[in-house]
């Protein structure tokens, strides 16, 4: 019988079904991309109205308030399909102004109808503005966080059937809920989009004093109020405007390991980072948007997309100072790391004799992608170069979870003297090859410089 001698090289076979897993991965990948687009669409249509106050109020100066307290008041929308609201006069609370409070009514301009006991009337225009804010819905709040949590448990080698199923389930449940809730909310709370601007004050008594009803021309000629303090966010007609800011940044990031689980032996290199962001600003001091950044390095690859909110300080001349925080969805893939060889004189918790030694070989596994939920904070100085262009100098801190994987194999090395002058040195592998994954949390401190374009 022939001896079973075959000189074959070490071969490790990856047992994978070929076609179907690839299709599923493509579908999951496509769904992720669709989710991102879908999230962007939903950013502009949401359930905010459900969380808004159902009442709004007009500020009144004391003489106007005193006069109106003696009259009959009614607010209506001045439309063919007339809708009216009862009003109540309230004493000053935090400032010296009285308020005329009423349940919200949709429309950019309402009419306050003032009637006195003698039958005289006056129609006063009350401006209203359509409110804009960060859209609160399941898709823009809970979904990214839940998906970030689910994907952080994904194993890049093993099957992630239940994770993927849970992610798809959560996404479709939340998106379907939003798809129903958003139109329904818009219908039910259609009036709550509107509010009287806080800068509008009825301070002139002549504007509200009643007129003789015989003078029809005067009675029905209603002067629209003009905003004396026009800003980029509130025009002369008291209508809100928002700005969209696009910016591109480049910078360098220094990494600092803040914690490590399982003793990661590979570090994270300092390297250049690039980012793109868009923000929506609806108020002078508040901005929200999306920020995407990635690093430029051959040793590891990380992509981070975050939703962020920021406070904008405008006290500087021709410039602004912005600081904010963000949370989002990040991926990490390590491409290069050293293979390692270690020795130990412990085996299964027992100390070995002088004739034995445990050899530990760690073979780095490249290109395994992991997901995590990064937190970030930033501060940046923006100086205007022109009307709608600014340059930015900033500092950003981002938390990154770095994973490093090794195949670990242990061997036992023994020495033996067979006869005088004859020794045997034997190396025998022990146990199974195991995959060892270590997680480290890093803070990346980035200094950035960039350019911003503002679109009105």
């Amino acid at each position: 019988m022939a001896a079973p001698f075959l000189l074959a090289r070490l071969s490790i076979r990856t047992k994978q079904s070929t076609i179907l897993p690839r299709i599923s991965l493509i579908i999951v990948s496509m769904l992720r991309k669709c989710l991102f687009t879908f999230s962007l669409v939903l950013l502009f249509a949401s359930c905010n109205s459900a969380f808004r106050s159902s009442h709004t109020s007009v500020r009144l100066s004391p003489p106007v308030a005193e006069y109106l307290s003696q009259q009959t008041l009614l607010i209506h929308n001045n439309q063919p399909k007339l809708q009216t609201r009862q009003v109540t006069l309230q004493a000053p609370f935090a400032d010296s102004f009285y308020t005329l409070r009423y349940r919200k009514l949709s429309g950019n301009s309402l009419i306050l109808e003032v009637s006195d006991s003698t039958g005289k009337m006056r129609n006063v225009a009350i401006p209203q503005t359509k409110l804009k804010a960060f859209p609160i819905s399941l898709t823009t709040t809970a979904t990214p966080l839940i998906l970030g949590g689910i994907f952080s448990y994904r194993d890049p080698i093993q099957s992630n059937y239940w994770d993927d199923l849970a992610a798809i389930g959560v996404t479709f449940f939340n998106a379907s809920t939003d798809a129903l809730a958003i139109p329904l909310t818009k219908l039910i709370y259609r009036h709550q989009h509107y509010a009287v601007p806080t800068s509008f004050v009825l301070s002139d008594l002549q504007v509200v004093q009643t007129l003789d009803t015989l003078d029809k021309a005067k009675l029905f000629t209603i002067t629209a109020p003009v905003n004396p303090h026009v800003t980029p966010f509130l025009d002369a007609d008291y209508q809100k405007h928002h700005q969209v800011h696009f910016s591109a940044n480049g910078g360098y990031g220094w990494t600092h390991k803040s914690s490590s689980n399982g003793g990661s032996l590979a570090t994270l290199a300092n390297c250049p980072w690039y980012s793109l962001e868009f923000n929506v600003q609806t108020q002078e001091n508040f901005r929200w948007g999306m920020h995407h950044m990635r690093n430029q390095d051959t040793r590891f690859q990380s992509n981070i997309t975050s939703l962020q909110i920021a406070y904008v300080n405008n006290y500087l001349r021709n410039a602004s100072l912005t600081c904010g925080v963000g949370i989002g969805f990040g991926s990490f893939k390590r491409n290069q790391a050293e293979n390692l060889s270690l020795t130990s004189n412990l085996l299964n918790g027992k100390r070995l004799g002088p004739d034995s030694l445990v050899l530990i070989d760690k073979e780095f596994i490249p290109n395994l992608q992991y997901f995590f939920t990064p937190l970030s904070g930033f501060i940046q100085y923006e100086r205007n170069l022109g009307t709608d262009v600014a340059w930015i100098v900033g500092f950003r801190m981002t938390q990154i979870k770095a994973r490093t994987d090794y195949y670990t194999r242990q061997s036992l090395q023994t020495w033996e003297e067979i006869a005088p002058g004859i020794t045997a040195e034997r190396i025998q592998n022990i146990g199974y090859r195991e995959r060892e994954s270590s997680t480290s949390t890093y803070m990346v401190f980035q200094g950035t410089i960039g350019l911003k374009i503002r679109i009105h």
Partner: protein
């Protein structure tokens, strides 16, 4: 809405089917590499008889023997590599014996046996042994 439901159902079916096997497996292996290193001041003659037993294709237990004759120059090495012992001809090879005889033209003479036992609870069994004389 219908298309979303269809897409989700399709994804679930594909994920169910595709989740069958994504594990990373190793081949079973029992490999022995023996290196003889001659530190004597003369050429050493070596006779090694490798013997082992296992089951053939007819499920009959048989023993197999292979004999090697080498002469190893002063300061030189000789090697015997046994690989893929699981896969060819014999199954369930558990123990391999190397009966070694070393002689030179002078007084040096040694005869001993080295035994290599496979651990059935691990997929990979690699032995590398260096004998120095």
């Amino acid at each position: 809405m219908k298309s979303i439901l269809k897409l989700s159902l399709l994804s679930m079916v594909i994920l169910t089917v595709s989740s069958c096997d994504m594990w990373f497996n190793e081949d079973y292996r029992f490999k022995i590499l023996q290196i003889l290193q001659n530190n004597q001041s003369n050429k050493v003659y070596n006779k090694t008889v490798v013997s082992y037993g296992g089951y053939n294709f007819n499920s009959v237990y048989v023993r197999d023997t292979q004999t090697f004759f080498r002469s190893i120059q002063m300061g030189d090495t000789a090697q015997i590599l046994m690989e893929n012992m699981y896969a060819v001809n014999l199954y369930a090879v558990d123990t391999v014996y190397f009966d070694i005889e070393l002689t030179d033209s002078q007084q040096f003479n040694a005869k001993f046996t080295r035994t290599y036992i496979r651990n059935p609870y691990q997929t990979l069994n690699d032995f590398v042994e260096t004998l120095r004389f």
